[in-house]
């Protein structure tokens, strides 16, 4: 495999890979490393990369001194673990010169056009995780079903908010509020039900675990800006859950 001499095409590839990684919830240093490894594999010259969770900037300086630079704004951020590992495979192949830039870009484009997983299984498995969580916190069968359905309901309501494009904060606010409201009603009729197991169980699947772990890893890798901004995101979402769940305890309401 020959080295890629067309820096415009190479830039396109590096930006696409970084963009897809950041959009599917990878760590920031992984996006930087992806571009760097690919460039080391097939590029020539010098490269500078700067990535934060919302933007990616790459500059290539060739040996004759001309510079090619590109910048990508990252607008949507979701979590797609499978996409991350597939991009990782493509990046590894490029850095070991098994495929060239054009092939890699094509593979990334196909990956980008793929719909982000089927919708109903995601919804159901999040709710199923809520049920499993309620078992972990000492629940039995009734708690499992309550957590399952309150998480499902919270997500369906959250979908409406997502369709009017609001921040994830409101989504998590709802995810906290719905189970407490349900338990306030159900707990009156069946006082023997373990309320805490249901409420905590149906909240936790929406806990920002990926963001939290990424924040730690980014900060440890020296990407302080990314670490702090991701930590802020995680705290915002967790606070949304907590505030939603505790609204019902406001004195005067209950």
């Amino acid at each position: 495999m020959v080295q890629c001499t067309d820096n415009q095409a190479l830039m396109k590839l590096l930006l696409k890979a970084g963009q897809l990684l950041l959009e599917s919830g990878a760590e920031t240093y992984r996006a930087e490393d992806a571009a760097l490894y690919m460039f080391r594999g097939i590029g020539q010259g010098e490269i500078s990369i700067f990535a934060v969770p919302t933007v990616l900037i790459v500059e290539i300086i060739t040996e004759d001194g001309t510079a090619v630079s590109g910048c990508k704004r990252i607008r949507r951020r979701a979590i797609d673990l499978d996409k991350i590992s597939q991009i990782n495979n493509i990046v590894r192949k490029v850095s070991q010169r098994e495929i060239d830039a054009a092939e890699a870009l094509e593979a990334l484009e196909i990956l980008d056009r793929q719909p982000g997983g089927k919708f109903v299984p995601v919804l159901l498995s999040t709710a199923a995780a809520a049920g499993a969580f309620s078992l972990l916190f000492g629940g039995k069968l009734p708690e499992l079903f309550l957590a399952f359905f309150s998480c499902l309901l919270a997500q369906l309501i959250g979908l409406f908010f997502r369709s009017v494009s609001m921040h994830q904060f409101f989504n998590s606010l709802i995810a906290g509020l719905v189970p407490t409201l349900i338990m306030a009603a159900v707990g009156r009729i069946f006082p023997q039900i373990n309320e805490q197991a249901v409420i905590v169980g149906s909240m936790l699947p929406l806990f920002p675990g990926v963001t939290m772990v990424n924040a730690i890893r980014d900060a440890i890798n020296g990407d302080l800006v990314s670490g702090v901004s991701r930590a802020a995101e995680a705290i915002l979402i967790a606070a949304g859950l907590g505030i939603g769940a505790s609204l019902i305890f406001l004195p005067g309401v209950m």
Binding site: T126, A132, V200, V210, V213
Partner: protein, 151 residues
């Protein structure tokens, strides 16, 4: 018996979380095994603080090993495995007490949750670094630093 039940529940938790994050079923299942082992370590430890530190240590170690075996980012396994350990009850009680005006109890629970998260952070940060040193992957990192702009 109780341990087996909890182990299975942890596998279920991490498995369904994995599916909801678009991971492949076998990856989710491996993440579930990691989570189950991590939670068992947490249960065996005499104090909850030591439990959080050690279980996160085991979790991160297992996911680093699995990542190298499967040629996948270690985060995929780590994120799934860590979910059963999230101190959800403490976080929930913190907010519940705070809104009810019982600040002393809220601080107590909040401090507990914070210490747990900090201890897990230590493990998550420590293991990959040690792992890299052991495997001799240091060169890559230092070369990367030279070529890249700092934040």
């Amino acid at each position: 018996m109780n341990f087996i039940y909890i182990f299975l529940v942890c596998i279920l938790v991490s498995f369904f979380i994995g599916i909801s994050m678009h991971a492949k079923p076998w990856v989710s299942f491996l993440g579930g095994l990691v989570g189950g082992v991590g939670y068992l370590v947490y249960l065996i430890c005499p104090s909850p603080r030591a439990g959080y530190l050690l279980s996160a240590l085991v979790l991160t170690l297992l996911s680093e090993i699995l990542a190298r075996l499967c040629k996948m980012p270690s985060n995929n396994f780590l994120v799934l495995g860590i979910y059963p350990l999230v101190p959800g009850t403490a976080l929930y009680q913190t907010m519940a007490y705070a809104v009810q005006g019982d600040y002393l109890k809220a601080l107590e629970k909040g401090g507990e949750a914070l210490v747990c998260i900090v201890l897990m952070t230590v493990s998550i940060a420590l293991v990959p670094t040690v792992f890299r040193i052991v495997l001799g992957e240091r060169k890559k990192r230092s070369r990367r630093r030279l070529q890249m702009n700092e934040d």
